[in-house]
Symmetry: C2
Subunit: 245 residues, 2 copies
């Protein structure tokens, strides 16, 4: 599994399509991922049609990977299938609530990541689109997602046409806690973020954005409070629309 | 990566502890998992102290794996560390909202699953405890999780002391949709669940619980609407308590 240690997110792909057999095999293997009560609370929408991709693209802020990848996979939390099964079997489903959404979303994200690990071991490149939960109502509309189905992750997939530098990571002792959580003192924070802040790329990022610190690039440019509050509202409305709250 | 295809959830472990070096290596590799804006919005609490495990156990409905496993890992969505960094760098963090929780929870679940895939490739056994989001307030208290930290997944880890039968899965065409979502017709549902319903284990399950159908075991016994509604409330309250809504 050296592929995980060496992995990079791939945003440029060859035009070679992904064979249906390969996709099926990777998904079948990925379905061995643990799932709550063995209910498999997920669906995967595999989009290859350029017309549907073009409709999806704006929901992903027109990131070029949506059109550029031969395959776009939308991993959806799905209590629709299980609930329909219950209704057809004289059982009253009770999964139109927030806990059930979190359960199905967890199932779905675990599946997503096993799929990515397997796809990358197979030589494919993937890019995780965090935009999926930014404007979920648009994705729901384009993909015709019914009640109790909700998009939680999108992956673009293709054969790599780039091999970028690996990105940095925080030191392990910055994320690992023994027995219980030990909150961070100011000196801990300085130490944990020192390497990231020392990188040339980080300094360039600060300069390009006319900011004083790298943290300000995150708070003032990339992930602002205003955007987060606005999109939280849309996300909650979408959960209501799909019957989960 | 044949380990994924052959994996089983392991609930019985040898008493052999997990070497700290091995845990560190697996977590460092797992940290290559994609993360939003490279922020690594997670913390991992590695609990080995029997006293702390005994306090955690009730929050997990006293499932025997908590005491029986040499290692209990609680994977937490964490915007505390990143927010503290912002505050120390003249930046105003805006991550006390629902979208930020979903972002951090997604980061965390993806990390969790890569960790499991790596641990199992190394010969370790894991069990995913879905109970983590059932009574999160208790876990928050026992592990001293501060504001903007929330437990989303718990994994018990140890060297396997059992090798159970593999559980069934739905057929791939029951979860895969092409281009857009095609909703299920009654005949689809019958076909997708036919194999699961035909299993001896399923029939035994129905008989033991005095139910008419397997679906009724899920709705009336294992995952009831009353429990889901009650625990949804507690989950939302815990999110409020931790500052995410």
């Amino acid at each position: 599994m050296t592929t995980i240690k060496e992995r990079r997110t791939i945003r440029k792909y060859k035009s070679t399509p992904i064979a249906q057999d390969l996709l099926n095999r990777l998904l079948e293997e990925a379905m061995r991922t643990p799932t709550m009560g063995n209910m498999q609370l997920y669906s995967v929408v595999a989009t290859t049609d350029p017309k549907v991709k073009a409709e999806l693209a704006p929901a992903h802020f027109n990131q070029p990977m949506v059109m550029g990848a031969p395959l776009v996979l939308t991993f959806c939390a799905d209590f629709n299938r299980a609930s329909k099964w219950c209704e057809q079997r004289e059982a009253q489903p009770g999964y139109d609530n927030f806990l059930s959404f979190i359960n199905a979303a967890s199932d779905t994200l675990l599946l997503t990541q096993t799929f990515c690990n397997l796809a990358e071991a197979e030589g494919l490149g993937t890019c995780y689109l965090g935009t999926t939960v930014y404007m979920p109502k648009d994705i729901i509309r384009v993909l015709n997602l019914p009640r109790l189905v909700f998009p939680v992750a999108t992956i673009t997939v293709g054969y790599p046409d780039e091999w970028p530098e690996q990105t940095d990571r925080l030191p392990l002792d910055g994320i690992l806690h023994h027995d219980t959580y030990k909150d961070y003192l100011p000196a801990d924070i300085d130490r944990i973020y020192a390497y990231k802040e020392s990188l040339e790329e980080s300094k360039r990022f600060v300069a390009e954005n006319n900011k004083k610190t790298l943290a300000q690039v995150f708070t003032d440019v990339r992930y602002t409070k205003n955007d987060n509050v606005f999109m939280s509202k849309g996300l909650m409305e979408a959960l209501e629309m799909q019957g989960f709250v």
